[in-house]
Chain length 242, copies 2
């Protein structure tokens, strides 16, 4: 199924941006009168009929729409430290989107080697992953922020199961597996923090625990940052699977 993406759908009129218009007219050779399917990135699929086939700006009239198209029964916010190698982060974003998640916060930890991330590239990847996996919602990507800022911003969130996965052992703080902790959760809101190659600092972990985050482990395997992050997404995806 061929999908287009537009942030400009209003009053029954849908406009495609320059790239999407070029793809629609030059590559797929659509013309006035053709029907196209457009996702708004917010969860709704629109069936539209092209009324202006300019390869710079396609305009289409909305025929009908489907809400929550390709949605999942939970809301997952992943806070993942950027990996040394950008491809690995982008790979994680693509795969997590295929399975289903909702928001990505690149978080910078005390032990983070990489302290920047180009969110624009990740956003592009998420749009194509959403199209490819037939979802009308594209996960939101936030600007990078510090681990401590992220924790603080979630301190008062009582409606959310807040998880932090770290590797170092602390006999005072026993960790259960993410699978066990998810079992006890009836709600739909989940946030998971995944640390950098150098793990979270003890200070960051303590602050998270004080702020109501539950410490979890991801099993016995030693996983790379991006693999750990995707394992957490699969754990959530599988938890809600019937």
């Amino acid at each position: 199924m061929e999908l287009f993406y537009s942030k400009d759908i209003e009053g029954g009129i849908c406009r495609l941006d320059h790239d999407e218009s070029g793809h629609c007219i030059k590559v797929l050779r659509h013309r006035c009168g053709d029907e196209i399917s457009v996702i708004d990135g917010c969860g709704t699929l629109y069936r539209c009929r092209i009324v202006s086939d300019s390869h710079k700006e396609v305009t289409a009239a909305v025929i009908d729409s489907v809400k929550d198209w390709g949605s999942h029964p939970y809301r997952l916010h992943m806070a993942v430290c950027p990996t040394k190698n950008n491809d690995r982060y982008e790979w994680f974003a693509e795969k997590a989107c295929e399975m289903g998640f909702d928001e990505l916060s690149p978080v910078i930890g005390e032990h983070s080697e990489r302290r920047i991330l180009k969110t624009a590239r990740v956003e592009k990847i998420l749009v194509s992953a959403a199209k490819q996996s037939l979802k009308a919602a594209v996960p939101a990507v936030n600007e990078p922020l510090f681990v401590k800022e992220f924790i603080t911003s979630f301190a008062d969130r009582q409606d959310t199961l807040k998880l932090i996965a770290y590797c170092f052992d602390d006999e005072n703080v026993p960790r259960r597996s993410i699978k066990e902790v998810l079992k006890g959760w009836e709600g739909g809101e989940i946030a998971v923090m995944i640390g950098p190659e150098g793990d979270f600092s003890k200070v960051e972990a303590d602050l998270a625990l004080q702020s109501g985050f539950v410490p979890v482990h991801l099993g016995d395997s030693r996983l790379r940052t991006e693999t750990a992050a995707l394992t957490a997404v699969s754990a959530v995806y599988l938890h809600y699977m019937e």
Copy 2:
């Protein structure tokens, strides 16, 4: 932790091949008397002392060894059709190895576009993934074979939970989720078949069912071949997680 890989460990003597020797002597500058850790790819970790530090062939004397180092409590054989794009297949192999699996069979289906796979590249990736995730066992990679050959070779395997994940709907054959099917399994041997971009053919699916394969789905998301394969590995990994 720095690990070397050797298939040549016998009578208390471990030899590193040309590449590993160069890395050990030229890059890491080890010399006679140094202690190194070596995995044999079959599950055992050896602590050794270098007795000859030639950068072409390092020889080391085994001090002691640990069996089943970094092992997992199941045996998982993944039969996955090659993806159009090789990187995606290699990516799957790396991530699956990090989580834990044991054998990879590239299978060629009736709908497979890509009908070849260079197993040597995948083997290299698996060796470094095993080192990176601290496992002494490196998953075996078989030569590509046809889907029907793979199914036939498993027809008499009663000790194995045999799963086939396909996408097309067949109201005569209700599918349960991989999670549900795993719940009912007490054994440790599991085999999972993942089809190509064009899915398995009806003929292949029927043959699998006749041969005792259980049809499963991987949830509501439409997943790429490599994502579907990794989701199956995570489902098994999480099933055995305590």
